[in-house]
Amino acid sequence: MANETRESAQGSSRIQATGPGEVTVDIRTPDLEINFGPQHPATHGVMRILMRADGELVTGAQPHLGYLHRCAEKIGENVEWLQYLPYTDRYDYLASMNNNLGYSLAVEALLGIEIPRRATLIRIICAELNRIGSHLVAFGTYGLDIGAFTPFLYTFREREWMMALFEKICGARLTYSYIRIGGVFNDAPPGWFEEVARFCDVFDEKWKEYCDLLLVNQIYVKRTANVGVISRDMALDFGLTGPMVRGSGIDWDLRRDMPYMCYGEIWRDGAFKIPVARGEMGALGDCWDRSWVRVMEMVESTKIVRWCLDHMVDGPVIGEIPKTLKVPAGEAYVGIENPRGELGHYVVSDGGKVSIRTRVRGPSFCNLAVLEDVLPGSLVGDAIAIIGSTDIVVGETDR
């Protein structure tokens, strides 16, 4: 099969001599080159994949990025530390809270300041709620890619509530800028924690609906199991992180293994587990495993949120941060567990008001690189399933 694919990639009709006096005419039409995107329903944004296909068989794929490049890193070198925060909202716009958090933690690592405990707990609640929201979109739109429209609206029903919760706490629905350097912007309004608890209770019932409707649906399983298998070694070699790496059966989660904030405490309390794919429906590391990991992570996130609600303390939510922040010279890299994987911020300061380098290591960007290797050899329908299962946000790949 592999040989055939390689030959057809050159795309020519040829006459093969298979033996003395015996000629097989092998009619081989040239491969079709399709521009998959930039405007295509299944690329989740403006990404282009130059696909070569022999009929329904994909023989080559080359992602082309940059349609949403907004120079986030260059902007980071031109605005003040505090001013950069809203730009972090814009790279992974489905998990803005986590982006805020990653950047804030990186700058705080340089500043070396302590964060009030109440702020830390609120940060974790927001980050985990945002993880639920992000995975809801990932799972819902994945159903859309597979061709099931209805689960998408079911997931958005819950996401709507999550966004309403964020609207109550910070006034924005998508780009929050709520987690600030030194804490969070303001305290939660009265009754907010109770509503979050209610959300968790309701969500515990609702996620089973998604499982019944889509995750264990036979057609869905047949479409995703054994499709787009990313082996353990491949996942490590390509630097995959987050659900992608857990979907390949690697037990790794930054929240547990390199704890930041008080995740270590929560883990020691046994409040949450790390779902790791076991290859239940097919080969380990297929698309089904990745979607299963995402669904289960949402459930674990509600547990973390509950723990934080139970251990909530009173106190300030933001430390004393000057309006014009001067960050001591040095460099720091902080990676946090974003819904899509490790979001790293590498910040370099020379002691001034402006950073000299703000590097964003977006998980989507790194997870996407694996497509070049996984797509060839799959069918066109599978290619959609594989792209969907990587759960990229183009805002982050391009930054």
């Binding site: 340089l110 990676g335 380098r357 690189a369």
Partner: protein, 172 residues
């Protein structure tokens, strides 16, 4: 393993190109000019040896850095003589990280590609190449990744001047 342990191990295995460890320190109260250094510790290596250094980090069974998380470059200042190449390594087995830094002279921004060691660096190197004008010798696919193929200049350099127009479209 903490940073000290990793560094000692690197010294012990004679990791190629290892120059020194750089750790954050408090400002010296006697020296007023010294402001100290904040943030994370890193090891400094020679740029030309970077790929081999990473290989030894990956293959050593006590370090076991399976993943390259990030590879990036930094242009510290307009008049700085060097680019910094920053690499973040991660060991899933031992749960430790290592920040690697290499100085690459701006006059000859070229170093061996690390793709043979970690395929994860493939797109990172492409990004560095287009943004900073650094040549990674031996990169399997040296195309632009984010910028258009015909983009002139290296935008992430500090001395980059924003173009006045692009294909007849005014940028001002």
């Amino acid at each position: 393993m903490d940073f000290r342990g990793i560094y000692d191990r690197l010294v012990a295995i004679h990791a190629p190109g290892l120059v020194k460890a750089d750790e954050p320190r408090k400002a010296d109260p006697k020296d007023k000019k010294d402001k100290g250094r904040a943030g994370d510790p890193f090891v400094l290596v020679e740029a030309q040896e970077l790929a081999r250094f990473l290989e030894s980090c990956r293959d050593d069974d006590r370090l076991h850095f399976e993943q390259l998380i990030d590879l990036t470059a930094t242009d510290p200042a307009k008049d700085a003589p060097d680019f910094w190449i920053g690499v973040q390594l991660l060991s899933l087995k031992f749960r430790h990280r290592l920040a690697v830094k290499a100085l690459l002279p701006k006059s000859a921004p070229s170093l061996p590609s690390t793709v043979p060691v970690y395929r994860a660096s493939q797109w990172h190197e492409r990004e560095c190449a287009e943004m900073f004008g650094i040549t990674f010798v031996g990169h399997p696919d040296p195309r632009h990744v984010l910028l258009p193929d015909d983009w002139i200049g290296y935008p992430m350099r500090k001395d980059y001047e924003f173009p006045k127009e692009y294909h007849g479209i005014s940028c001002e």
